[in-house]
C-alpha cells in the first residue's frame, strides 16, 4: 500500500517542485530522476505482484474526503475563471452545474456512506500502472528536449511557461494513478476531474485562438461526462447504498435491473473521456497542443482512463443489455468511421488522432461485448496501443522539429534524411496494423470473441474497418520508405532525451511483441481469471509463438537487414534521361528538365471528414440518447 500511496503522492510533490524551478539544467535533472523513480516504482509494483488477484487495502480518511471536495471546488473555480475570461458561457454553466451537484452529493449523500477499502489493485490496475509509470514518465523525459526546441521557436521575449507545463504533466500522472488505484468512487471522481482540467490547460497551453477554442471544446464535452459521473454516484448511493467501486460492480452484476441507469451514466462518462463519437472532436482538437501533450493524452493517460472505466464495467455489460448495446455500437461505429476518415488525412498528427479514436472504439466495443475473450482482447489493445502510439507521437514530434512539417507528404525521403528515426516510425506503424505484431493479435482475439457472441454487425464492421486501417497505414509506411541516394542527414541534432524516450518505447514494443505469450499468461490472464474465473485467451499459445517469431524476424530485417544489398545502382526510369533521383527530375523529349511528382491518395470524395463525420456523430448521438431513454424508463419507481 505504501507503494500505491507513493505513486499517487510523489508525482504531486515533483509537480510542486517543478512549478518553482526556472533553470533548464535543474529541471532536466529533476524530471529525469523522478521519471526514473516513478518508472522503477511502477515496475517494482508490477513485478512484486505479478499475477495477483484483487488486493484491497483498508483505508479511509475523512481528511482525503475533505481534500477531494476542496479540489472539486478549485477545479470549478479555475474553469469558471477561464470561462469568464474567454466569455464561454457553456463551459461556465456546466462547471457550475457540476460543482453544485458534487457539493450537494458530498455534503448530503456521501456522508453516511463509508468505504472501508479505499485503495486496491488488481492485474488490470497493475497493467495500467505500468503504462502510466513507464510510458507516461518516458514522455515527460521526451518533453524536456522537445520543449527546449519549442521555446526556441517562440517569439523573442515570450514568457517561459515551461514550469507550468511540466508540473501539469506530473499532476496528470498522479491523477491517473489515483484513478486506477482508488476503490472509493468519490476519490476516483476527483482524480477523473483533475485529468479533465489538466488536459484543458495543456491543450490551451499555446494560448492561440485555435488552442483556446479546442480546449473549451474538450472541457465542455468532458464536463458533460463528469456530470454523468456525479449522477452515477447519486444513484449508487440511493439505489445500491455503496460508493465502493468493487462492490458497485458486484452488485450491478448480481442485480442488473437496479444498476441500468448508473452503469449507463458511468459508461457515458467513459465514452466522453475515450473520445468516442459524437465526442471525437475534442481529441482531434487536442492536436494543437505541443506533441508531448498529444502523446500523453493519446497513449498513457486521459483516453486510457475512459477505456479503463469501460473495461472495468465489462462484466456488467455482459448481463445488462441496455448499456452493453450502447457501448458496443458506439465503439463499433467509431472504429469504422474514424478508420475511414483517417484515409483522407495527410497531417500525420491527425492520422494518429483518428487511429487512436478508432482503436479506442475497438476497445470500447470489446468492453461492451463483455465476455472473457473480449476483455482479453481489450486489455491487449490497451497495452499495445499505448506503447505503439507513444512511439509514433514521439517520432512525429521529433521529425516535425527537424523537417519543419507534420505533413505526411513532406516525410518523403525520411528514410534517407533521418534513417534511425524513420525505422522507429516504421516499427511503430507496423505494430499498429499488421500481423504478427501485437495490435493484430488483439484484433484476432476480438474477431474470435465477436464470432462466439454471434455478433454479425460487429464482425462486418471489423472486416471493413480493418481494410481501411490497412490503406491509411500502408501509404504512410510507403512514403517513409522511399530512398534516393544520400541527402543530408538531419537527425544528428536530435536531443539525447528524445532519443532515450524513443528508444525506450521501441524496446518496450519489441519486447512486448516477442514475449507475447508471457504477456498473456502473466499480465492479462490473471485479471480475466480474477473477474470471470476462467481463461479468456482465444488465440492458441502456439500461434502466439509463431507470431512472436515472425515479429523477431521483421525487426531484425528492419534494423539490421535493410541497406546491406551491394548490387549495382541504376537510375529510376523516368521516360527520359534521369537528372536527379532525389528531386525526380529528368530530361524530357524537348531536352528540357522536367520534374515528376507523385502524391498519395486521400480519396476526399469518398472518405472526407465533411462527408462522413456528421453521419457518425448523428448515429452515435441517437444511440446514446436512446440508451438513456430506455435506462430511465427502466428505473423502478421513477415513472
Amino acid at each position: 500500500m505504501a507503494l500505491l500511496g507513493f505513486l499517487i503522492v510523489f508525482p504531486l510533490v515533483v509537480a510542486a517542485v517543478l512549478f518553482a524551478v526556472r533553470n533548464d539544467a535543474v529541471r532536466d535533472a529533476i524530471v529525469v530522476a523522478s521519471a526514473v523513480v516513478i518508472g522503477v516504482a511502477s515496475v517494482a509494483l508490477v513485478a512484486l505482484n505479478l499475477g495477483a488477484p484483487g488486493v484491497f487495502f483498508e483505508f479511509s480518511s475523512g481528511i482525503i474526503d475533505i481534500v477531494c471536495t476542496i479540489i472539486g471546488i478549485l477545479i470549478a473555480v479555475v474553469i469558471l475563471a477561464y470561462a469568464v475570461k474567454y466569455k464561454n458561457l457553456l463551459a461556465g454553466a456546466l462547471a457550475l452545474v457540476q460543482v453544485a451537484l458534487a457539493l450537494v452529493f458530498e455534503l448530503m449523500f456521501a456522508h453516511g456512506v463509508h468505504v472501508e477499502f479505499g485503495l486496491y489493485f488488481d492485474s488490470l490496475s497493475l497493467l495500467m500502472a505500468f503504462i502510466i509509470g513507464v510510458i507516461g514518465s518516458g514522455i515527460c523525459v521526451y518533453a524536456l528536449g522537445y520543449m527546449k526546441d519549442f521555446q526556441h521557436h517562440e517569439p523573442e521575449g515570450a514568457k517561459d511557461r515551461r514550469p507550468l507545463f511540466f508540473s501539469l504533466m506530473f499532476i496528470f500522472l498522479s491523477a491517473m494513478f489515483a484513478i486506477v488505484f482508488c476503490n472509493n468512487m468519490v476519490w476516483m471522481f476527483t482524480a477523473w476531474e483533475v485529468t479533465t482540467l489538466c488536459s484543458f490547460l495543456l491543450i490551451g497551453f499555446t494560448k492561440t485562438e485555435e488552442a483556446i477554442n479546442n480546449a473549451f471544446r474538450q472541457i465542455v464535452m468532458n464536463l458533460a461526462g463528469g456530470i454523468a459521473f456525479v449522477v452515477a454516484l447519486f444513484l449508487a448511493v440511493t439505489q445500491m447504498g455503496t460508493l465502493s467501486f468493487t462492490i458497485f460492480i458486484a452488485e450491478a452484476v448480481s442485480n442488473p435491473a437496479i444498476a441500468v441507469l448508473p452503469v449507463t451514466a458511468l459508461a457515458f462518462a467513459g465514452i466522453t473521456k475515450a473520445a468516442q463519437m459524437p465526442f471525437q472532436s475534442w481529441l482531434l482538437g487536442a492536436m494543437v497542443a505541443p506533441t508531448p501533450t498529444s502523446a500523453l493524452l493519446h497513449s498513457s493517460t486521459m483516453v486510457k482512463a475512459g477505456v479503463f472505466m469501460l473495461v472495468k464495467l465489462a462484466p456488467v455489460f455482459l448481463v445488462s443489455p441496455i448499456p452493453s448495446v450502447m457501448v458496443m455500437l458506439v465503439g463499433g461505429i467509431t472504429f469504422l468511421w474514424c478508420s475511414f476518415m483517417a484515409i483522407s488525412q495527410s497531417n500525420a498528427k491527425r492520422v494518429l488522432a483518428y487511429s487512436t479514436i478508432a482503436n479506442l472504439g475497438l476497445i470500447t466495443a470489446c468492453a461492451g461485448v463483455g465476455t472473457p475473450e473480449a476483455v482479453w482482447a481489450a486489455t491487449f489493445l490497451v497495452l499495445f496501443h499505448a506503447i505503439a502510439k507513444s512511439l509514433l507521437f514521439l517520432c512525429v514530434g521529433t521529425a516535425e522539429h527537424h523537417i519543419g512539417s507534420r505533413d505526411i507528404e513532406d516525410m518523403d525521403l525520411l528514410f534517407d534524411r533521418m534513417p534511425r528515426l524513420a525505422r522507429y516510425m516504421m516499427l511503430g506503424i507496423m505494430c499498429m496494423f499488421i500481423a504478427p505484431f501485437g495490435m493484430l493479435i488483439a484484433k484476432w482475439a476480438t474477431i474470435v470473441s465477436f464470432v462466439e457472441m454471434g455478433n454479425v454487425i460487429l464482425l462486418v464492421i471489423l472486416a471493413f474497418g480493418s481494410a481501411a486501417t490497412f490503406m491509411f497505414w500502408a501509404k504512410w509506411l510507403g512514403k517513409l520508405s522511399g530512398i534516393a541516394g544520400q541527402p543530408e542527414n538531419v537527425e544528428l541534432t536530435v536531443h539525447k532525451s528524445e532519443w532515450g524516450s524513443v528508444l525506450l518505447m521501441a524496446v518496450l514494443l519489441v519486447i512486448a511483441c516477442v514475449l507475447l505469450p508471457y504477456v498473456s499468461t502473466y499480465i492479462v490472464e490473471p485479471y480475466i481469471c480474477y473477474v470471470y474465473g476462467g481463461s479468456g485467451q482465444a488465440v492458441a499459445t502456439d500461434n502466439l509463438w509463431i507470431a512472436s517469431i515472425c515479429v523477431a524476424a521483421v525487426v531484425i530485417v528492419l534494423f539490421a537487414g535493410l541497406g546491406r544489398n551491394k548490387s549495382r545502382r541504376v537510375n529510376v526510369y523516368m521516360a527520359g534521361v534521369s537528372v536527379d533521383n532525389e528531386s525526380r527530375s529528368f530530361k524530357n523529349s524537348l531536352s528540357q528538365t522536367s520534374e515528376a511528382t507523385a502524391r498519395n491518395w486521400y480519396m476526399e470524395d469518398y472518405f472526407g471528414e465533411k462527408r462522413l463525420s456528421p453521419v457518425g456523430v448523428g448515429v452515435c448521438t441517437v444511440i446514446i440518447v436512446a440508451a438513456f431513454a430506455f435506462a430511465i424508463v427502466g428505473v423502478p419507481g421513477l415513472l
Binding site: A435, K475, D542, A547, R569, V572, M574
Partner: protein, 288 residues
C-alpha cells in the same frame, strides 16, 4: 506441436508450391493463347523466363528493394505452410497480407512515379478485397467450428453447403487477388492496358524473378482456399476439390481474357458491395 507442423509445412510448401505454381502459370499462358487464337509457348516457359531473370545482373535502384521482396516471398511461404499444414486460417490470411505489404513497400522504396502509382493501386486492391477475405475466414469458423483448416477433415458435409454465398463472394475478389483483368490495376500482364509496368517498374533481374515466384506461390495458396470449401471427411473429396480448383482457375483465365481493366472506383465499390451482401447475409443465416 503447431510450431513443428507449421515449420515442416512451410518447408514442404516452399519446395512444392513454386513447382505447381510454375506449371499453373505455363498452362495459364497456353490456355490464354488458345483463347486468343494463338498456339502459345511451351508449358515450361515461365520457368525458362525466371531462370533467365535469375542469371541477369543484380542491378537495382536502391539497397533495400530486394530485401523487401525476399520478405514478401518468405511470408507468402509461411502463410502457405500454415494453411496446408492444417493451421489457423486467420493467421494464414494475416501472413499473406504482411507479404502484400512488403511488396507494396518495396515499390514505394524505389520512389519511381510509375512504381508509386502501382503501389497506390495495390494498396487500394488490398483494401478492396480484405473485407471479403476476413469474412471468408470468419464464416469458415462459424461453419466448421474452428479456424484450423485441418478441421475440415472431420466434417460430414463440405463447408460449401452452408457458406456457398461466401464462396461466391470470395470468387469475386479472387480476381483481384490473382491480379487478373479487369482488376489488374496495380500491374497487368496485358501490355495494352498498363502505365509503364505498374508496381514492378523498378524491379529487374533476380528481384523480378523473386516477384514471379511469389506470384506463383500466392496462386497456389489462393486456389487452396477455394479447394477448402469442398473438402470433408471423405478422402475422395480431395479429388473433387482439385477439380473445382482447375475449373475456377480456368474461369479466372477466361475472365482475364474477356474483360478490359476497370477504374478503381468500380473495383472498390463492387468488391465492398459483394463483401457486404454475401458476407453479411451468409453470416446472418449461419448465426440465426
Amino acid at each position: 506441436m503447431t510450431l513443428i507442423s507449421t515449420l515442416i509445412g512451410t518447408l514442404v510448401f516452399a519446395v512444392l508450391a513454386p513447382v505447381l505454381g510454375c506449371l499453373l502459370a505455363g498452362l495459364d499462358r497456353i490456355v490464354s493463347a488458345r483463347m486468343q487464337g494463338r498456339v502459345g509457348p511451351p508449358v515450361l516457359q515461365p520457368y525458362y523466363d525466371v531462370r533467365k531473370l535469375l542469371e541477369k545482373e543484380d542491378a537495382s535502384v536502391n539497397s533495400v528493394e530486394k530485401t523487401y521482396i525476399i520478405c514478401a516471398l518468405a511470408f507468402a511461404l509461411i502463410s502457405g505452410g500454415i494453411f496446408f499444414s492444417g493451421g489457423n486460417l486467420l493467421l494464414c490470411v494475416f501472413m499473406i497480407t504482411l507479404s502484400s505489404l512488403f511488396f507494396i513497400v518495396a515499390a514505394y522504396s524505389s520512389r519511381s512515379p510509375y512504381a508509386e502509382i502501382g503501389a497506390h493501386r495495390e494498396t487500394l486492391q488490398v483494401m478492396a478485397y480484405e473485407p471479403m477475405v476476413l469474412l471468408f475466414a470468419i464464416a469458415f469458423f462459424v461453419a466448421v467450428g474452428s479456424f484450423d483448416t485441418a478441421a475440415v477433415l472431420n466434417l460430414r458435409e463440405p463447408a460449401i453447403a452452408s457458406i456457398w454465398l461466401v464462396f461466391l463472394g470470395l470468387l469475386y475478389v479472387l480476381t483481384i487477388k490473382l491480379r487478373k483483368s479487369p482488376f489488374d490495376l496495380s500491374m497487368s500482364h496485358h501490355a495494352h492496358q498498363e502505365i509503364v509496368r505498374g508496381i514492378t517498374t523498378e524491379m529487374s533481374g533476380p528481384t523480378l524473378a523473386l516477384v514471379e515466384i511469389t506470384h506463383w506461390v500466392e496462386n497456389v495458396l489462393f486456389l487452396g482456399w477455394i479447394g477448402l470449401f469442398f473438402v470433408w471427411g471423405n478422402p475422395l473429396s480431395i479429388v473433387l476439390a482439385l477439380a473445382v480448383m482447375v475449373v475456377v482457375y480456368f474461369l479466372e483465365v477466361f475472365i482475364d481474357n474477356n474483360f478490359a481493366r476497370v477504374k478503381w472506383q468500380l473495383m472498390l465499390k463492387s468488391a465492398w458491395i459483394v463483401a457486404l451482401v454475401c458476407g453479411t447475409i451468409n453470416l446472418a443465416i449461419l448465426v440465426f
